[in-house]
């Protein structure tokens, strides 16, 4: 399942901030029920991801980076937002401690 309108939002967020090329972008990623929307773009180091929980259940996301480091975001009740700034390039897998069926992957570019 996809969320075209919401993916638009994520996209729009990026465009807004990347208008000034030196600035880091802020990318909004909606969560609906047990789906984290595809990121839709290739973020770069320094960009910020904002996960917005639109679901009526809580989530607890964690990001596994290519070098094996794991970054756990806090438990995210319905209607709340969690933010992380991408510190390194490479492949990233987003999963949820509560819901193992959640999985979203993307690549981070170095610039």
């Amino acid at each position: 399942m996809t969320f075209p309108t919401l993916r638009h939002v994520a996209f729009a967020g990026l465009l807004l901030f990347s208008a000034a090329p030196a600035l880091a972008a802020e990318i909004e990623i909606p969560i609906h029920h047990t789906e984290v929307a595809d990121i839709g773009v290739t973020p770069k180091v320094g960009d910020t991801l904002t996960f917005v929980n639109h679901a009526d259940i809580a989530h607890n996301l964690y990001l596994t980076f290519e070098d094996g480091t794991v970054q756990t975001l806090d438990t995210q009740p319905p209607g709340t937002t969690k933010r992380t700034t991408l510190a390194r390039e490479g492949h990233v897998i987003v999963r949820c401690w509560i819901h193992p069926i959640i999985r979203m992957e993307f690549d981070v570019s170095d610039k």
């Binding site: 259940i57 438990t75 819901h99």
Partner: protein
């Protein structure tokens, strides 16, 4: 997703109005005044979310074959997989007891009680994480765990391979299932066990016939129970899909023990995983209990009372756990619903072991 939103909307309308559909279904007086009935379109959308899938999925890396499933069945019933030679998978996952053991806690090597209850091995082809704490990603990976656990079958995979090579009949069975010169290995043993377990699927329950359109397949109590389950009682927040599980992990506020469940694997900052266990499927429930990861819920009365109270308030308690007032009649209706998702067990023909 549309279904989900409908459900939320609908749940709200239930709190407001409750059981609208009962009027049309059973004719009994609703407990709460009816304001806005659940429209037949809403009910139809809700029912879609519980429709059974047409086929059983098998992973690309371990596709189904008859030979593999037959081999896996032999292995599942074969006590030679245990050090003592007396315990098979089926000792604990007994088909006569719904592929479990009917006990509050499993009994392991040398009759030692284990910390957890034996879950039924049914409908696991659709599973996303295995064991009460989800520490196995696949059934293939899981199969190794009971064989090698010192307090369960207490074996090494090497010793199992050695024993199976010594049993004359197994060579040809592995040959037919996997081919190759030396087909008996830890990998093929666990692949066959996983394949067999994926074939264990609940049969069609009265509820499934109702979902498929037979209005008379379940009674009015079960229908009201279904609405409660999805509406006021919010059970479907976790017991979702046709299997009635979200394959996810929640602390439902049972009496805490030293067993932290998924909390043992998650970083300490992930408070929500402390005391969190996998949502069990509710299909083909043994109606006499016991229930829960350690059997602490003795019967269905205790289960429903637990949810009515909402579980022990603590930091890790799931956000989806909220106290709810349930009348005796509503409790009976929930039980009638749980009964409607039970099917006649499939006949099991025991294998003749090589």
């Amino acid at each position: 997703m549309i279904g989900r939103r409908l459900l939320t909307l609908w749940a709200a309308s239930v709190t407001l109005a409750a059981y609208a559909a009962t009027a049309g279904l059973g004719g009994a007086t609703p407990d709460v005044a009816v304001e806005r009935p659940l429209s037949s379109a809403d009910l139809a959308a809700l029912k879609q979310k519980f429709r059974r899938p047409a086929a059983t999925p098998f992973p690309k890396g371990n596709p189904f074959t008859e030979e593999k499933a037959a081999l896996g069945k032999s292995l599942f019933f074969d006590p030679r997989l245990s050090r003592s030679g007396s315990v098979s998978c089926a000792t604990c996952h007994n088909p006569s007891l719904g592929w479990s053991d009917g006990l509050g806690k499993a009994v392991g090597f040398e009759m030692k009680p284990l910390a957890r209850r034996t879950p039924p091995v049914r409908n696991l082809a659709w599973g996303a994480a295995f064991q009460w704490d989800g520490r196995a990603d696949t059934l293939e990976m899981q199969a190794r765990m009971p064989i090698t656990a010192p307090d369960e079958m207490n074996m090494t995979m090497d010793l199992v391979v050695e024993r199976l090579k010594a049993a004359p009949g197994y060579g040809p069975m592995f040959q037919r299932a996997f081919g190759g010169d030396d087909p008996i290995s830890a990998r093929t043993i666990t692949a066959a066990l996983a394949t067999f377990q994926r074939t264990l699927v609940s049969r069609e329950a009265p509820f499934d016939r109702w979902i498929a359109g037979d209005e008379t397949a379940i009674g009015p109590d079960a229908r009201r129970g279904f609405e409660l389950f999805n509406g006021k009682a919010r059970c479907a927040a976790c017991h979702s899909s046709w299997r009635f599980t979200d394959d996810s992990f929640h602390d439902i506020g049972l009496t805490a023990t030293a067993d932290l469940g998924r909390g043992k694997f998650a970083p300490p900052s992930v408070v929500a995983m402390r005391n969190a266990f996998k949502t069990p499927s509710l299909r083909d429930l043994r109606m006499q209990g016991p229930y829960g990861h350690d059997g602490q819920l003795k019967d269905l009365g205790a289960v429903i009372e637990h949810y009515a109270k909402g579980g022990e308030k603590r930091e890790s308690l799931s956000f989806e756990m909220k106290p709810v007032e349930l009348s005796d009649r509503e409790r009976r209706e929930l039980v009638a619903f749980l009964d409607s998702i039970r099917a006649e067990p499939a006949a099991v023909e025991l294998p003749q072991l090589p």
